[in-house]
């Protein structure tokens, strides 16, 4: 069937209002919508095809709602994710605490999910340095501790947004290559490969 194939599941997590939807919007449609804030309801899925070193990779991105109402159900959205972009608002320290919550959650339930910490709305810091809510070095230390990549992005200006998703895709391709290699040697280090199909099943 002509269903679209998704290679890697990527989930956006973070407190409400930190800018997850805006980040996806910038990356997928290269635009920043001004206008009143529209909180996400449940979660939204969008697939994005990109190329990494001549290979095409389809990211299936889950943009989840930050509202606590959906917390109990969050597992259905991040289960089997290859990558999690855990967002916090650079100007809001409480959102960083919430990011830590998600990191712990992932460490407990999704060992094989790579974590990317993403400080959002960096354009606001350019306007006024004093707006930074959490010390950069503290965040960096934390990222090192949990072995996460750290990005600071702005969906408004587009700063570092493509780089973030490009890195996610590259890491995925690299990991797959590594897995294929180890499988050839007869050692399977990988977990069950979670590939989703839009249409019917494969295997």
């Amino acid at each position: 069937m002509s269903g679209q194939r998704v290679d890697a599941k990527v989930v956006m997590l973070g407190k409400e209002y930190v800018g997850k939807t805006s980040l996806v919007e910038r990356y997928v449609h290269n635009r920043f919508l001004v206008g009143p804030y529209q909180n996400t309801i449940g979660a939204a899925f969008v697939a994005k095809v990109m190329s990494v070193g001549g290979r095409t990779v389809t990211l299936g991105i889950w943009d989840t709602a930050g509202s606590e109402r959906y917390e109990a159900m969050s597992r259905i959205y991040y289960r089997g994710a290859r990558a999690a972009i855990v967002c916090y608002d650079l100007t809001d320290s409480s959102s960083f605490e919430r990011a830590k919550f998600w990191v712990t959650e992932l460490q407990n339930f999704e060992e094989n999910c790579r974590i990317y910490l993403c400080g959002t709305k960096s354009d606001l810091l350019e306007e006024d340095r004093k707006k930074r809510g959490i010390d950069f070095h503290d965040v960096q230390d934390y990222a090192d501790e949990i072995k996460a990549e750290l990005f600071e992005t702005s969906s408004k200006t587009g700063q570092s947004v493509d780089q973030l998703f490009q890195k996610v895709a590259e890491d995925y391709v690299q990991l797959m290559a590594f897995q294929v290699m180890t499988e050839d040697e007869g050692v399977d280090l990988s977990q069950k490969h979670s590939t989703y199909f839009y249409s019917c099943c494969h295997h």
Partner: protein, 549 residues
Amino acid sequence: MAADIHKKKGWEGPNGSLVPADGQPTERSESPTPGLAQGMEPGAGQEGAMFVHTRSYEDLTSPEDGDVASRSPEKGRGYQADQTSMEQISKDFSELSTQLMGMALDLEEEMRPSQEDKMDLSLQTARRDSARSEKEDEDVTMEAWRMHQKHVFVLSEAGKPVYSRYGSEEALSSTMGVMMGLVSFLEVEKNAIRSIHADGYKVVFVRRSPLVLVAMARTRQSEQEIAHELLYIYYQILSLLTWTQLNHIFQQKQNYDLRRLLAGSERITDNLLDLMARDPSFLMGAARCLPMAAGLRDAVSTCLQQAKAKSLVFSILLSRNQLVSLVRRKDQFLHPIDLHLLFNLISSSSSFREGEAWTPICLPKFNSSGFFHAHISYLEQDMDLCLLLVSTDHEDFFTVSDCKRRFQERLRKRGMSHALQEALRTPFYSVSQVGIPDLRHFIYKSKSSGLFTSPEIEAPYVSEEEKQRLLELYQYLHSRAHNSSRPLKNIYFTGPSENLLAWVTSAFELYVCYSLLGTKAAAVSAVNKLMKWIRREEDRLFILTPQTY
């Protein structure tokens, strides 16, 4: 048909306004209910209905949970305060507020309508929008309160604010205290409805444990109708949390702050209140269909029906709160209230325009204890056509998403996208098509299908205010027709700016608005013509052949 509308006296309230005051002489038809048997009326489905059969208000107040025993039998009982008890309440209220807010409030004083009875509605709307989006707090003085037609509050039984239509709940928490005191003062039993009337105002309380819903209204709605709206708000909250979760939370912690869980949903509730003030669907307890050729609708429905999956319960195609098609699982019926909540959810957020949403949703009238998962997406970027697929399995996203793709592919293959687009271009029809000169507007509901039809509201109802006034007239007729103690089958009403007619039978409800030029006899005979027209057009205006998977 005409013979059933008996000669009745038109009645005009003081100042030409419609005051649904009790004890006024009213018109009642002595004649037996006529004509059309249920299921044979125009708009009745040929192969059964899509919806749970409803009796609008009565159905809304029926229990949605297993807790029947604790329900009070006296639903909808109004608390009509006579002069002495009003004074007593007023006194106690004043004492209560002194106690809680450190200042005395005179109930009668506070209930008095402000000088400016009419206000600029558009201005009001703009302001409330910015208040919500900018998270600005409105100044909660009694003065500001008065500017609005209706206030709605939701609080927990412990008196914690949950929702407020205007201003932040925070700023209103002291007011909530007064409300709460008043609730306990009135000894509103579990699941009961009470109301206080004070000149120009109605305060209606609906208690649905663990929540208390309060409305203060200056509209001409009856307390039944106001309670009806409050119940919709209650169901809206259930649709986000489920009845089970809501009760569990408050059993664990009586003074839980529910706003934490409802954060971000204020917009949905605001939208519901706005929608109820202008969309007759809620009043009718029915759904309106997008007018389109029967052949096209059937073909679209077939495509939708074929794009099925095991976990799907309902597939719904809609355009701006109008139904295009609905396919359901055999033996599963959707309740109009649940459908309205879905319509409201979709119209309240532009976030569904991008990608594919996958969200838990409780349909409280269907099952208030669990979540369905809804797949929500627009078919094309600039087309106002939204597809809603309701699934029982939250793991089934990709299967359900594939149903959408298959549906779209079928539409494309059969070349129907274009025809659909054409139909969307004329989402309303003009009342002039009926060919009755004095006819301005009407609402016709087929009871067995749970569907209604209504033309576009045209001149002289141009301004928002005029449109709302027309809806209020219908509300008034509706409340007279459905008055629990004295229901009326036929009403002819002569107002200062229009004449209205209502006709309610076991098969249908018809509300008609005429210009002042016509006579009553002409109005009555026009009903015949109108009914014939609806019959002729029924396959365009209704879904006559609903499909199942």
